[in-house]
């Protein structure tokens, strides 16, 4: 009896949190119907590979949004660490390039977290500041010239496929997604993320070190920003000071479509996978059907409003 009730309650929560999967399924079905090419694995695997970098950024910024904050600096972080990694790659320092890039990403995240918790600058302004600073530093360092000459064999991460059919970058994305979903749902840190996002004051009064949780969340965001930047770098095979511009908005939109509430405390990381794919599918289907690519942004905007509106309506009806 008790157990019955437990599972039925769980199912109710599942329905709500994972509504994005339903939206994704409907969207996918529509695409399959209007564009026959969509039915091929090749197209789908391309979709996964093309969106891996956005998806990874969304995984990271998802934590920041879950604690009720924002990170506008992720695209700049990706470009900045991309320059470092590319320079190392050109010198055939593969591991230094990878590890160094990720460490710098974490440091930028920690800097954001410290500015927000210690200097008490609101997250929007703090990360807008670091966004512009790191974009500027990237331009200064490169003098505006792209870094190229990365050894061909490194590109396997960006363009290679496992057993000839599954994109490696998509595999990295999915593995990270699963790990971070487990971190969110099964660990003490994840529980604190929900607590800080749900009611920071209450969490603090309950003895949670809220500043620590905030800083770690920004470190995660910085880490995945640089990882996304690495994937981008190893797909296009060069690093550019203007790389990834505007990607933070794509990542934020993916989180929001994926069911993470901007006020924090609600949503999950798996949702960002479907959010990212929905965004990617819009571009994909517009290309496939030969509709003018000028439509891309307008349609994307409408999908964001539609998906969030639907979630909001369903959420309110529940109350």
């Amino acid at each position: 009896m008790e157990n019955d009730k437990k599972t039925s309650k769980k199912r109710l929560r599942l329905n709500y949190e994972y509504i994005v999967i339903l939206i994704f399924a409907v969207f996918f079905l529509v695409c399959v119907i209007v564009a026959p090419v969509f039915r091929s694995w090749r197209n789908f695997s391309n979709l996964l590979a093309q969106n891996a970098m956005y998806g990874l950024m969304a995984v990271g910024i998802g934590f920041v949004i879950l604690i009720g904050r924002i990170d506008l600096s992720i695209a700049s972080t990706a470009a900045f660490t991309g320059i470092f990694s590319a320079t190392m790659f050109v010198r055939e320092q593969f591991f230094l390039g990878i590890i160094g890039g990720l460490v710098i990403g974490c440091l930028i995240g920690a800097l954001n977290g410290l500015i927000i918790t210690k200097a008490k600058i609101i997250p929007f302004i703090a990360t807008l500041g670091t966004q512009v600073i790191f974009r500027g530093l990237t331009l200064i360092i490169t003098n505006g010239y792209p870094v190229y000459g990365i050894p061909k064999e490194y590109n396997i991460i960006g363009l290679g496929k496992i057993a000839g059919f599954f994109p490696i970058c998509a595999a990295i994305w999915i593995v990270c997604l699963i790990i971070m979903q487990i971190v969110l749902k099964k660990t003490k840190f994840g529980q604190y993320v929900y607590a800080v996002g749900g009611n920071e004051r209450s969490a603090w009064l309950s003895g949670v070190n809220t500043n620590k949780i905030i800083i770690i969340s920004y470190v995660i965001s910085g880490f995945f920003a640089s990882l996304g930047g690495l994937i981008l770098l190893l797909r296009v095979q060069l690093a550019n000071a203007t790389a990834a511009e505007g990607y933070e908005l794509t990542a934020i939109a993916s989180c929001v479509i994926g069911g993470i509430a901007m006020e924090g405390g609600k949503g999950n990381i798996i949702g960002t996978f479907f959010g990212t794919l929905i965004m990617g599918m819009i571009i994909n289907i517009i290309q496939l059907t030969g509709i003018s690519s000028y439509w891309e942004k307008a349609v994307t905007g409408m999908i964001i409003l539609g998906a969030v509106g639907l979630t909001t309506i369903l959420n309110h009806r529940r109350k």
């Binding site: 003490k188 529980q191 607590a195 209450s202 309950s206 003895g207």
Partner: protein, 503 residues
């Protein structure tokens, strides 16, 4: 026959089926100061909020100068000449005095632009006329609280108000400022303005009011000329004669061992001054005082949520350094905040998530949560506290107020706190849940936890406490030994509402 400027006839109002006003009639005469008194929760605020159009959905009628009215919002009440000076002075702090006085009623020039010159001139004229030592150009932020209040009063007068409602105007004023405020009120009275004056401090009422209306449990008890009654009589009306002794705790469990010792604690904003006390093992220490007396700030200071200017805290005989709530939690001090929704709970999360939040460390292994252990703990706690719910995984937002409160208290039972500070543990919960919460408090004490019980409800303070501390304007006034049952509600109330040091 004196003219009644306002009549509220047979007003009845319920919140969620809970009657807070029952057939209350209030008649306000032109140019009188009419005091409205009653214990916390008697319905004073609700009555004046109906008068001001903040609350609708009542039965009964309101008649102003012979005309029947029904306000849909405070603006309509303003237009009929009723304004309210709220406890939280609602001023735009970043703007200057004249802008605030004319907010929403700006003077415009021919080109429909703001005519600042005229506004400053008129504002200054008004301030001078009222004898307020304020410059119309001053920015609100730069003014002390007492002057801000004068700005609000000036705004009321500039709106040609016939009726001004003061809600606890003196709770944060010094005695000199209170004296000045009374001069202002007498001045307003001479101008023919009627005043509704709400205060916890009865002495003030005898100084300033002409008539007094007493409310108790949502009912009007009496309206009487102040000159023909005294403090004892008013207190008696406020609490009634009935004294329920049924729930009274019969055995004390207070030990000798001092578990918490506080010396000279002063709040960073000086709302509490030089507080010292000892708390013993198994003891229930009741702290009571009127709204704004500093009781909640005291609690927050002890657990490190509010900054303190000076003072020392010892736990178990050792001086400790509590700078944040996490320090208090690790010293096994639990704190139930006054506002469970804003501070006590994470509403969107489940019962088990909330219960285990303060002790998650003990329910994790290598960073991973031991969900089975958490579930068992939550189930045990739900059982022990009689929480009505489907399962430990249910969202807290979906529970009733009483059950939510049990979860907020349960958090500190889960953490096995040895010192528990409860701020208004039964606020906004139904009678059944109230009894159950009392039971939990008694149980905790019998298990040797030391409890600080902060409450508005004098009855629960009397029924549960071993000792009672009365806090008035941020200072401990008096300590009562409650173990011999020799105090009644009237004693406590009289001490709380007195501003006289020797009372």
């Amino acid at each position: 026959m004196v003219e009644n400027i306002l009549e509220m006839r047979n007003i009845t109002k319920a919140f969620f089926g809970n009657k807070v006003l029952d057939d209350v009639t209030l008649k306000l005469q032109k140019g009188e100061v009419h005091a409205l008194v009653g214990a916390n929760g008697a319905g004073k605020s609700t009555l004046v909020k109906i008068m001001n159009g903040i609350y609708g959905g009542y039965s009964g009628e309101i008649i102003i100068k012979g005309e029947k009215v029904q306000f849909r919002n405070p603006f309509e009440a303003n237009r009929k000449g009723i304004v309210m000076v709220h406890q939280e002075l609602d001023l735009a702090e970043n703007l200057d005095v004249s802008t605030n006085i004319f907010l929403g009623r700006e003077i415009l020039d021919k080109g429909k632009f703001l005519d600042r010159k005229s506004m400053y001139k008129e504002a200054q004229q008004l301030l001078d006329e009222l004898n307020f030592p304020i410059n119309a150009y001053d920015v609100i932020e730069s003014l002390p609280l007492s002057k801000r209040q004068l700005v609000v009063i000036a705004r009321c007068v500039s709106m040609d108000a016939d009726i001004i409602v003061f809600d606890e105007p003196t709770s944060s004023l010094s005695s000199v400022e209170v004296h000045e405020l009374f001069n202002v009120i007498r001045n307003l009275k001479r101008r023919g303005v009627s005043i509704v004056y709400i205060s916890h401090f009865l002495e003030e009422i005898f100084q300033i009011a002409d008539r007094v209306t007493v409310l108790r449990n949502g009912q009007k008890i009496i309206t009487e000329l102040v000159s023909s009654c005294n403090t004892e009589k008013v207190v008696e009306w406020m609490i009634g004669h009935k004294q329920k002794a049924s729930q009274k705790r019969t055995t004390s469990n207070a030990g000798e061992e001092v578990v918490l010792s506080v010396r000279g604690l002063t709040h960073a904003t000086a709302v509490t001054k030089d507080i010292s006390f000892d708390l013993h093992k198994g003891e229930i220490l009741g702290i009571t005082g009127v709204v704004g007396s500093g009781r909640s700030e005291l609690a927050r200071m002890i657990i490190g949520a509010d900054a303190r200017a000076s003072g020392e805290i010892s736990v178990g005989g050792k001086v400790v350094n509590i700078n944040a709530p996490s320090d208090a939690v690790s010293l096994k001090i639990g704190y139930l905040p006054e506002d469970r929704k804003k501070e006590g709970l994470i509403l969107e999360r489940s019962i088990e998530d909330n219960l285990v939040l303060a002790v998650l460390n003990e329910y994790t292994k290598n960073g991973f949560i031991l969900f089975d252990k958490v579930y068992d703990l939550a189930a045990k706690m739900i059982n022990r506290m009689h929480v009505k719910c489907h399962a430990p995984t249910q969202r807290v937002a979906d529970l009733s107020g009483g059950n939510q409160q049990k979860i907020a208290i349960g958090k500190w039972l889960c953490s096995e706190s040895r010192i528990i500070i409860l701020d208004q543990p039964t606020r906004g919960v139904d009678v059944g849940a109230k009894e159950e919460i009392y039971q939990i408090i008694k149980e905790l004490s019998s298990q040797n936890a030391a409890i600080i019980l902060i409450s508005d409800e004098i009855e629960e303070i009397l029924n549960l406490s071993d000792r009672i501390k009365i806090i008035v304007k941020g200072e401990f006034r008096e300590e009562l030994d409650n173990r011999n049952n020799n105090y009644v509600k009237a004693d406590l109330l009289a001490k709380m509402v007195s501003t006289d040091e020797s009372a």
